[in-house]
């Protein structure tokens, strides 16, 4: 299982961040992701293989605050 945006998504070997975003129908251009505290930049979204059982935090560069 992968935990993302308060949801559990089925994991399979080799799944990338790009595939995960497709799976959850999220086409937003995130700047990066944190995978169990490891920082993964957008340029690695196609290649980074997500391990099983992790939590993913998607990072966007929009917003004030």
């Amino acid at each position: 299982m992968i935990r993302v945006k308060n949801r559990d998504i089925a994991w399979h070997a080799g799944i990338t961040i790009t595939e995960l975003l497709e799976k959850i129908h999220d086409s937003f251009p995130y700047a990066a992701a944190l995978i169990n505290e490891q920082y993964v930049g957008r340029s690695e979204f196609d290649s980074f293989r997500i391990p099983d059982g992790v939590e993913i935090i998607l990072i966007s560069a929009v917003g004030g605050g």
């Binding site: 937003f28 505290e37 920082y39 930049g41 990072i59 929009v62 605050g65």
Partner: protein, 640 residues
């Protein structure tokens, strides 16, 4: 009149009298509430040219038409007065529970004039107001004063808006604090309150605002709660606004080392995700999602933090909340500090003493850069070594500033005045109209260059939508909302052309409306927020029963901006002050993705002229043209 309580409380501290005004519906529809309403009284009743600490300065505190209703993001107030930091109009918003309780106490706004001969506080309850002695509270930190007021009024549920020692000492960037952890931080409104010998405004009541169409209001509330988990603001509850640190870092736009760089190597150590795992209350037992988050009246987003640290060098009392993105950046990356507990401690000190975290952190970062460059000496800092990365020096200075002791006496004036007094460090300033820049970089988001400069109350990041939201790839996600505002011409973040000026100006009008409706800009806005502009229109219509159009609402925002510009013009503040610190033009950023980025002066000046033209202001002076004021129903202000 649905939405409003229909009463404005006027307080004269000089003779300790109060009166109640009941304006008509046309008045409310024109000025709406919040900042727009405040500005009406500032412009109508204040003599030009007064010192901000003169008793004649007016301190106006207003809720909005939707404040107190059970929908997310509505419990906010605006405080306005002439600013002791900028010398221009001052304006600041905050949330919490105090704003809703003001409405429940029977009033939409409190307009305060004069100065009490000795410390007092104002006690407003169920349509009544009393001025009570506060000599015994003067000098107390916010948490202690809060407790004592509750005890002496015999009611744990009173809501208290107050100043700490920072405001009493008239630190020019002193904040007004409620709940001991919500701050009307910007522009020094706490110092104005201190100059009036007014320690607190306490509210309590059982009255409730009515709505014209309760069904639609309820539907909007339900839609927000249902949509939140899949919205762009999802996760604000878990990680807070400080989770923006890594986003800014990824874009090369995280202000670091006093805006010398847009990247900070240790960004992850200070990010909101790290905060959640390491210092939020309850994180030791896995209960941080229950104990470590807080909210404002009726809000499902729950972005507020509660930090608790019981051991180590920087214990933090959860009463004082936890740091926002701006606070993490100003005390963190601005100062080159990667120690999150120390940053949380600085946040605690600011909430305890009543200081604006943005100006305080940025002023310290300025002093650090000036010291490292050899411009400030140990003699001037009274023996303090001020080096980037030194957390203890940062905390020591925060205390000294609040108490106006040692080198803190000079820094309590703000960085621009400190540079002027010392005759040093001007080239390191990051101020616009003397107000320190918040943590969004004009070198990265070019319309911030324009808005920081032209904003009537100095550099501000919540006065327009940011450039990143208008970039093609992001725009596609928000195109419907932006089209509702007539914006359909996306531009790169680095562009500062006429189309970008239109985007900045229109979204500035929307944000200006937000500050008059007093809606939270994390919940209501034009792009990534939970609700879009179409829903804002539906909300106002449902609450008031008025057949308003979006154009009419945007005009409320435009009217407020024009009143502010008119106020400033009377103070001699116009185009010459609508500029940026030289550092933004002359010192290219160092390191990472944003290496070499700066603001092009010619491009900036052209954008400013275009902005004045689009606003209907004199293209040379930036002062609203008489015909513009007349179009907005502000002809009366021309003679003021």
């Amino acid at each position: 009149m649905a939405g409003y309580m229909g009463k404005i409380l006027h307080v004269n501290l000089f003779d300790r009298t109060t009166t109640v005004e009941s304006p008509d519906e046309a008045f409310y529809r024109k000025y709406m509430g919040g900042s727009g309403l405040n500005l009406y009284y500032l412009l109508r009743d204040m003599a030009p040219g007064l010192d901000a600490f003169d008793p004649g300065n007016i301190l106006a505190i207003s809720a909005g038409v939707t404040t107190g209703l059970p929908v997310s993001g509505q419990s906010r107030i605006t405080i306005s007065a002439k600013s002791p930091l900028t010398g221009a109009v001052g304006d600041s918003q905050s949330g919490g529970y105090w704003p809703a309780e003001l409405k429940f106490s029977g009033f939409d706004a409190v307009i305060i004039k004069g100065r009490a001969s000795a410390p007092v506080y104002l006690w407003i309850h169920d349509g009544e107001a009393e001025i009570k002695d506060a000599g015994h509270l003067w000098g107390q930190i916010t948490g202690d004063a809060e407790q004592q007021i509750k005890e002496e009024l015999g009611d744990e549920k009173v809501k208290i808006l107050q100043i700490g020692p920072g405001g009493e000492n008239q630190v020019r960037f002193a904040a007004v604090i409620s709940m001991s952890n919500r701050a009307n931080g910007r522009t020094g409104m706490g110092a104005v309150m201190g100059s009036k010998n007014l320690k607190a405004v306490v509210v309590r009541g059982k009255q409730r605002p009515q709505t014209a169409d309760r069904t639609t209001v309820n539907e909007l509330a339900k839609w927000g709660a249902k949509t939140y988990p899949d919205s762009m603001v999802a996760g604000m509850d878990l990680y807070g606004t400080a989770s923006a640190v890594l986003g800014m870092q990824a874009a090369g736009g995280l202000p670091s080392y006093n805006f010398s760089s847009g990247v900070f190597d240790q960004a992850q150590k200070i990010d909101g995700t790290t905060m959640t795992k390491t210092i939020l209350k309850g994180c030791g037992t896995g209960e941080q999602n229950r104990l470590g988050i807080d909210t404002c009246f009726g809000c499902v987003v729950k972005c507020k933090r509660v930090v608790e640290i019981t051991d180590g060098p920087y214990p933090v009392d959860p009463v004082y909340g936890g740091p926002e993105y701006e606070t993490v950046a100003t005390f963190g990356s601005y100062c080159g500090i990667d120690d999150l507990p120390a940053i949380a401690k600085a946040n605690e000190l600011c909430n305890k003493y009543g200081l604006d975290t943005i100006s305080c952190g940025a002023t310290i970062a300025w002093a650090m850069e000036a010291f490292e460059a050899g411009e400030l000496t140990l003699e001037e800092t009274e023996g303090l070594e001020l080096r980037f990365g030194d957390a203890q020096a940062m905390l020591d200075l925060t205390e000294l500033i609040a108490k106006r002791e040692g080198f803190g006496r000079i820094l309590a004036e703000g960085s621009a005045r400190a540079a002027g007094q010392l005759g040093k460090g001007e080239r390191f300033l990051i101020t616009c109209k003397n107000q320190e820049s918040p943590a969004h970089m004009p070198q990265h988001k070019k319309s911030m260059a324009l808005i920081y400069a032209v904003n009537p109350f100095g550099a501000d990041h919540q006065s327009s939508e940011h450039d990143t939201e208008y970039e093609q790839e992001v725009f596609e996600h928000f195109s419907e909302r932006l089209a509702f505002l007539g914006l359909a011409d996306p531009q790169p973040a680095a562009a500062l052309n006429a189309a970008k000026v239109s985007y900045a100006r229109k979204t500035q009008q929307l944000m200006s409306l937000m500050d008059s409706l007093n809606l939270c800009q994390f919940v209501w806005g034009s792009t990534w927020q939970l609700y879009g502009p179409e829903q804002t229109l539906a909300f106002v219509r449902a609450v008031t029963g008025w057949e308003v159009s979006m154009e009419e609402l945007l005009q409320v925002g435009e009217r407020r901006l024009n009143m502010m510009r008119r106020f400033n013009a009377r103070e001699g503040i116009a185009a010459a002050q609508d500029t940026l610190p030289e550092k933004f033009f002359n010192a290219p950023l160092k390191g990472g993705l944003s290496e070499g980025w700066k603001v092009d002066k010619q491009e900036f000046e052209a954008a400013r002229s275009e902005y004045y033209r689009q606003c209907g202001w004199d293209e040379t002076t930036g002062i609203p043209a008489p015909e513009t004021l007349k179009r907005l129903g502000l002809a009366w202000s021309i003679e003021k």
